[in-house]
Structures are given as C-alpha cells and as structure tokens.
C-alpha cells in the first residue's frame, strides 16, 4: 500500500483527532467515543460481510469475547489491561476461526450462515449469564483506577485518541486488504464462489482468513467497550444489539467500502441522538421516530455518498 492509497484514511484521522481540542463537553466526547467503538465493530463485520459477502448475524460472539477477555483477565488474574486488550483480540479471532471452520467447511452460506452465527452468539450469551466465572447475571465490574498504566484516563480526550487511532488502523488494514490478493479473492468469492474456485481460489481458506480478521477487529471493539465503561454483562457483551449495530452501519453506509461503516455508524448515532434530544417528553417516542427514519434510510439508502467517495478514489 502506498501513501496514495492511504491518504483519505490519514486525512480522516487527522481531522477527527482535532475534535478534543475544540470540544470539551463530556457528553459529546462520550458520544464520539461510543460511535467510534461501533465503527470498529462495524468495520470488523464489513470485512467478512461487505467484502466477503458472508452475512454474519452474530458478531456479538466476537465483541463479547473481546470484552469479557479484557474484563476477566484483569479482575480475576490482575493482568495488565493493555495485555488483556490484546489477548481479547487474539481470543476473539480464534473464536472467529473456529466458528468459521465449523460453518464454512460444512458449506453454509447465506441465511444459513447468518442463523448459525446468531445461534453461536446466543449460546455464548446464555453461558456467560449462567456461569459464575464471568460474573453471571450481575456482570463484571472493572475497578476504577484512572491511571494511564491501567488503560483508564482522567479525561475522555486521551481515550478518544486511542480509540480513534485503532479505528484508523482498522481502516488502513481494510484499505490494504482491498489492494491485496486476499482482498481480490475475497470479493471474487462474494461475487461468485464457483467461478472463483475455478480460477484457483481456495474459497475455504479465504473465508477463514476473512472471518478471523473480522472477528479480531470486532473483538478489539469489545475490549475498548469494557475498558471505557468498566462494566460487562452478558446482554451488553453478547447481546443481539451489537450484532445488529455491526451489520447496520456498513449496510447503510456502504458495505464493501473502506468508509462505509464509519459513515453508517455516524449517521445512525447522530440520528438516534437527535431524535432522543428533540422529542424527549413522551417516553419511547424517540425510538418510534428512530425506527421510522431507519426504515426510510434502509429503503432509500444514501448510496451516493460512498459511491462518490469511491469514484474519486479508485486508483
């Protein structure tokens, strides 16, 4: 990958890095951090779903594994949070490889693959809720000790920059994938698996590589979530909400594009925040409006935005 390939990502990173210099309001930074964590989870989904065409409905399995791994290793074994964060990524990637191996080897595609991933995530959620090791239904509280060595910061700005750096890294990784042999083969498998195999593409290996990478990135999002909110329970970590978030953002913003998940996550969450603050008086009405707008956005997707970016940034 050359600088020419990478500059839009770097430009995005630089502009976004200026935010804490202008904004000090806690709620806004809070919102930005949460949105960026979702960007990361969505970018993970985008690699498998957007580029590989394998629509997972259970990315919670990876998000939750990253979150729980970070939490449990810290709380129960006193491991340094930076180490637990990396361990969470590795474990999530391994879970991805196992789920991928089991489902791709048996030739599951399309809605069957979606259902199997959903089932895996649900099994994880039920298990995490039941065993004492994970804190059970009460969840797992990471003790507050705001020192940088603990991956906890007194002010939100520093955490924001770390999350942003990881998002930029994921974007660069995606861009590099797009330009690589693996990326070309992955897209070929998405477009037509039989034809790809005839051209020497080992479809199983390519899909396994994709789900492993995808799971690792979404696992990183989980680890960041745990580290920021200092609390994990089974509905947060393995809940359906994050599976939906992870797939909704790329689909709305443009699946199979580098910036799709970022655009989607920002649009979705600005929308959610806006409806919440505009009509706060009747309980639940914001969700109704959010739901209606969501239906409209899915029905009339803002495809022109990613398409415009892509047209300017082809080669």
């Amino acid at each position: 990958m050359t600088l020419r390939d990478a500059w839009p990502v770097l430009a995005f990173g630089l502009v976004a890095a200026l935010l804490p210099a202008f904004v000090t309001a806690g709620t806004l930074l809070n919102f930005a951090i949460f949105t960026l964590i979702l960007c990361l989870a969505a970018q993970g989904w985008n690699i498998l779903g957007g580029y590989g065409g394998q629509y997972s409905f259970g990315h919670a399995a990876f998000f939750g594994t990253g979150a729980y791994c970070a939490g449990i290793l810290q709380v129960r074994y006193g491991v340094n949070p930076y180490v637990t964060f990396l361990a969470g990524i590795a474990l999530a990637a391994a879970v991805g490889a196992v789920i991928g191996f089991l489902s791709f080897r048996s030739g599951l595609r399309g809605s069957y693959f979606a259902l199997v991933t959903l089932a895996f995530a649900e099994v994880f959620r039920v298990l995490a809720n039941a065993v004492p090791f994970t804190g059970g239904a009460a969840g797992l509280l990471i003790p507050l000790d705001a020192r940088p060595v603990n991956f906890q910061f007194g002010e939100r700005g520093s955490f924001y920059l770390i999350v942003l750096a990881l998002v930029v890294l994921a974007l660069l990784l995606t861009r590099a994938l797009e330009r690589s042999r693996l990326g070309a083969q992955l897209v070929a498998v998405r477009e037509n698996e039989e034809a790809a195999r005839a051209l020497g593409v080992d479809a199983l290996r390519v899909k396994l590589a994709a789900i492993t990478l995808s799971a690792g990135i979404t696992g990183a999002a989980g680890g960041l979530y745990a580290q920021y909110f200092l609390y994990v329970d089974s509905t947060i970590a393995y809940g359906t909400w994050i599976s939906v978030e992870a797939l909704l953002a790329p689909i709305i913003g443009g699946a199979g594009t580098v910036f799709g998940p970022v655009v989607g996550a920002i649009v979705l969450h600005s929308l959610a925040e806006a409806t919440r603050s505009l009509v706060g008086r009747i309980p639940g009405i914001d969700l109704v409006i959010y739901g209606i707008v969501l239906i409209l956005v899915v029905r009339f997707p803002p495809r022109r935005l990613p398409a415009l970016i892509r047209a300017r940034w082809r080669r």
Binding site: R181, V187, A188, E191, N192, A195, A196, A198, L199
Partner: protein, 249 residues
C-alpha cells in the same frame, strides 16, 4: 505429441440416471481437441469431473499420467488446468479488469503485476476497450470473452472451454475463432465442448463424440461428420441411411 489428459472409463451416476457411461478419451499436448454431442449427452458433466467440480462414480482422470480424480478445482487450477463455464459466471459487480485480475492473482501475488497480466490477457481476447466497464454491462459476446480471459489469466497448460461460442452470431463466431487458435499457438492445449460445427471443423485437430453418456466416435472433424453413428446420434435412428438414400437418388 505426448498425452496431456487421459480420461479412463469414467462413469457418473445421479440416482437412477447414468449421465456418463464408461467414457474414455485422450487429449494430446498442444492440440485443440473437441468434445461434441447432442444436448444432454453428458458433456458438461464430463467437464465438471475433469475440472474437479464433481467426483465420478467410477473411473479415473490422469494428468500427464498422474491420477487427479476428484482433486479440488483450485488445486487443479494451480497445476495448470483451467475451465470456463457454459453459463458465463462473471464477477458481476467488478470491472472487466478486476474480473480477469482474479485469475491473474493465482500466479502473481502483487496487485500491480496481476493487473498488468490482466491487461495483457484482455488484449489477447479483444477486451482492451472494455477494461473499465462492469462485467455485468457487457454483451453476450463480451461476457464470453471475459470468461475466456479469466481462465487464461491463471496461466493454464490445459484450457477447458465449455461452449464459448454458444449464443454468438456468425460474425462474432468468426471473430473469436482466431482468438482460440491464438491461445493454442501460444502453447496452451485446448479441450472444447462446442455445438457450432463451423468452428469445430475449423479449429479442432481431433474430435470425440459423446451420445447418451458414451463416446461413440472419434477422429478428425471430417471423419467424424461422415460417421453414420454420429449422424444418427444427432438426427435419430435410420437418419444416416435415409440421407445416403437421398444422395443416391
């Protein structure tokens, strides 16, 4: 000329249907070999077996003497055996350049090299002007060329062409015949299933005729079309004698 591909006593059974029955034939290195036969004769099934997409019920496929029966398609492609599909299978969302590059990536890891190979192959199959178009936007003839280009970009030793001329008009056929001959002249052996007899007569060194799953004749194109068994396989029982009778009268 040495033998590149040998099919020995291959049978394929789908439930009660015997699609291919004890078929044997050979493809000599450097040749263009034709596989013809009426609709439903089992040609495409035989191709699927040779290219590893299906495992035969019995029999063997040999590649330069080595048994490759049932080996996975991507491994065969790596060995130098590449195929096209009768129903074209473009990567619809990708440009022509990217389509062909998928094939080129097999032997070139770097994107720049793969793209360069793709552009060279595109020139060979006459697609230079369409490189940036999405594959889905091409005419039938263009898609057939993409199909050919993708397979060719994998750098095959043996190319299996499944009806690349079907659905083309006579002038398009005339345009693509020299392309196939050019591929052979560049050192790639070709095995083609074809219905367009004009092209078969023109191109093939040797032809095998498949009817109801069995190889019923082989020889040069001229020998094969004069063979009464072949005429009957296409036109029905007794057709050869009736035709001969009319010629006499």
């Amino acid at each position: 000329m040495s033998t590149m591909l040998q099919v020995q006593g291959v049978s394929m059974r789908f439930g009660g249907l015997l699609a291919v029955a004890d078929a044997s034939f050979e493809v000599a290195e450097g040749s263009i070999t034709g596989l013809i036969g009426p609709n439903g004769a089992g040609k495409t099934t035989l191709f699927a077996i040779v290219s590893g997409f299906q495992k035969p019920s019995s029999g063997q496929v040999l590649w330069r003497g080595e048994d490759i029966t049932g080996r996975k398609p991507h491994l065969l492609a790596r060995q130098g055996l590449s195929r096209t599909f009768q129903i074209v299978q473009p990567f619809a969302g990708l440009s022509v350049r990217e389509n062909i590059a998928v094939g080129a990536f097999l032997r070139h890891k770097r994107r720049a090299e793969a793209i360069a190979v793709a552009e060279r192959v595109a020139e060979q199959v006459g697609l230079t002007a369409e490189l940036d178009k999405p594959a889905a936007a091409l005419t039938v003839s263009g898609r057939k060329r993409v199909e050919l280009g993708k397979a060719l970009a994998t750098g095959p030793r043996l190319l299996l062409l499944d009806e690349v001329l079907a659905g083309l008009n006579p002038s398009e056929v005339r345009d693509i015949v020299p392309v196939v001959r050019g591929i052979r002249d560049s050192g790639v052996t070709v095995l083609m299933i074809e219905h367009v007899m004009q092209a078969v007569m023109n191109l093939c060194d040797r032809v095998h005729v498949l009817a109801q799953g069995r190889i019923i004749a082989n020889g040069t194109p001229a020998q094969v079309v004069a063979n009464p068994a072949v005429v009957e396989a296409y036109l029905g029982h007794g057709a050869a004698t009736r035709l001969a009778g009319r010629a006499d009268a």
